[in-house]
């Protein structure tokens, strides 16, 4: 029983990080029908920005809370900007080209980011300074650290913020309109390029937040970290019904739990196989995802 609860705690933690990334996949797919394969790498870049900030500030003995906050803000701000630049440079010119062209462009961006970071930071591992306390509490035999709870809470807060933004603001409404029908949205006076840009920025900011949070929490980062994380998050986005924002949040947590349970009850060697088997099963049996695509497919 205590082990079961521990697997739930472990799964929800990694799931919350995944959900933030899955949201970016789903939002971007919603507005331009593109699987943004560079998304995991945007997260990786955010993680490295946070690393630079954290290392610099730790050397100057700033208080831990300030370091965490500044690293997070710097990571989010940088990835937000990076997301917009990527959209302008690599996707905007190809919006009306074939789907394949823009997909190849996304792969190119992904490789460029990975190789760029490898050149700057090297192929080895970098480690965030170990500044967060490991203290925690035990509940019914399962252990959680305060930091873990904080990270989970922060992820939920960011997701909640996004949900409110998309549903309660003018810009969010424009995003949803765009997801339903780009041409009709344009006819309604929505500034399509600007809304697409905004979507990329929001998705990238969440990825950046996830990258810095994971760096702070796990400490070990490298230029290749975005690849597997991206694939897992993409699986979550598909599982939640790609384009469906609440679906991505729930499915992110679900993928975290599936990974944790297969680590615990089957074997860690099999976790990725199981997660990607879920992806295949969803694509074959329920292509619209567990929660269905909220936006009707355009004819």
């Amino acid at each position: 029983m205590s082990a079961f609860l521990q697997y739930v705690v472990n799964g929800l933690t990694s799931g919350a990080f995944l959900a933030l990334v899955a949201l970016g996949y789903t939002m971007i797919y919603g507005v331009i029908r593109l699987i943004n394969f560079a998304h995991g790498d945007v997260l990786m870049v955010g993680s490295f920005i946070g690393y630079e900030v954290a290392v610099t500030l730790v050397a100057q003995h700033w208080p831990v809370a300030v370091i965490v906050l500044l690293a997070l803000l710097a990571g989010m701000a940088f990835t937000g900007g990076l997301g917009m630049v990527i959209e302008r440079v690599a996707y905007q010119p190809l919006l009306n080209a074939s789907r394949l062209a823009i997909l190849i462009s996304a792969l190119g961006v992904s490789l460029a980011l990975e190789q760029g970071v490898e050149l700057i930071f090297g192929a080895g591992y970098s480690a965030y300074p170990n500044i967060l306390p490991t203290a925690g509490f035990t509940f019914a035999g399962a252990r959680a650290s305060y930091v873990q709870v904080g990270m989970f809470g922060l992820s939920l807060l960011l997701m909640g913020g996004l949900y409110l933004f998309v549903n309660r603001t003018m810009a969010g409404t424009a995003m949803r309109a765009l997801a339903m029908d780009r041409d009709a949205a344009a006819l309604m006076g929505i500034n399509v390029p600007r809304t697409i840009l905004l979507t990329f920025m929001l998705g990238s900011v969440l990825a950046g937040a996830s990258g810095v949070m994971q760096g702070m929490y796990y400490t070990e980062i490298n230029f290749f970290m975005g690849f597997l994380l991206g694939l897992r998050a993409f699986t979550a986005a598909v599982l939640g019904g790609i384009g469906n924002i609440p679906g991505a949040m729930v499915a992110g947590l679900l993928i975290g739990l599936i990974g944790s349970f297969s680590d615990g009850y089957i074997s860690s060697e099999w976790s990725d196989a199981i997660i990607f088997a879920v992806l295949i099963a969803v694509l074959v049996f329920k292509p619209t995802g567990l929660f269905g695509e909220r936006v009707a497919e355009r004819v």
């Binding site: 192929a123 796990y218 615990g264």
Partner: protein, 402 residues
Amino acid sequence: MKRVGLRAAAPAILAAVALTATACSSASSSGSASSSSSSSASAGPIIIGVPVPLSGEYASAGVDILHGAQLAASNINAAGGVLGRKIEVVGQDDACLASTGSQAAQKLISQGIVAAAGGYCSTAAFPELEAFHRAGIPYVMDASTNPELTEQGFAQAFRTIGRDDEQGPIAASYITGYLHATRVAVGNDNSTYAKGLAVATIAALQKDGATVVFNNALTPGQSDYTSFLTKVAQSKPQVFYYTGYYPEFGLLLKQAKQLGLKFTMMGGDANNDPTLLKTAGTAANGAMMTTAPLAQFLSSATAYVSAYTAKYGTGPGPYSSYEYDAVGVVAQAIKDAGSTTPSKITAALKTISYNGITGDFHFDGVGDRQPVNYIVIIVQNDQFAAFKKFDNTTSQWVNVNS
């Protein structure tokens, strides 16, 4: 890493080219010396070949090893040389590749070497050994740990480093004999090396009477191993021995601390990397690793470490001390044989007993170093520190520098 390696390699390649050039000019004289009469003290130097990676990803390791060989040669020459002649080491780039290794060995042989001492990657060491074997030239390897190298039955194969399958029994001996654990968990990462070490360790643990309560692999490259660790904890081990590499072991240490797990964490010799200390922070303290001793952990190598650092401005790296002993043992064998004929050097190596900076050793029937020299190191105050070694005379685990 690659970038640094290439940058470090550039001067090394120049150095190697320069060395090769000087060696070429003297090759004819030494060649004629060995063919005419080995007893007459010829003026030309005795040449020892050093095949190591001087380009590519592992260039910096190769440069360290070549430096160790050069330092050994200059110390031997300062003490009067061998048989009245000077020792000269000639580096040759094998790029850590099988194809380049084969060429490197051929180039060295054509330069009239009497013995080879070096090597880094086992991949390149195989064809090198094959070529030296055919030429009848002894090859003392300093860093290639693949068991198969010496198991092929080549009389010319020797090594000053331990082999992968010797580490498992040492780890098991420490876990059962010093930590007195009866319930042991073993984890690996599914790589050939880690799996091999896990299998060897488990077999030895069972022979020593311990119960292996957990044996499973994790998937490397992930960040979250908390559920893997929870599963390990379910088997209630006293010791967890991880045979994989440092990126995962660092995370395991950190997350075990966070989960409040109390069993002892131990790792194999791929975990002896400073990155682990950065990743795990204070959670690394108390973790132990089995490893071939680094020069800085050995009181017998103190003078070597300071001489190396003074001369080259960096630390001696993990293997250069084994190369220092490889060149040293070859020089000793030439003295013992009283000859520079490769077959006589080979015969002398078979019976040699050598006091090296990495410890006293001789070679067994297949050319492997005896006694086995793995030690246990521990992380203390966020640093690796030498801890325990097996004392063969008392069959006890004692402090490394006692």
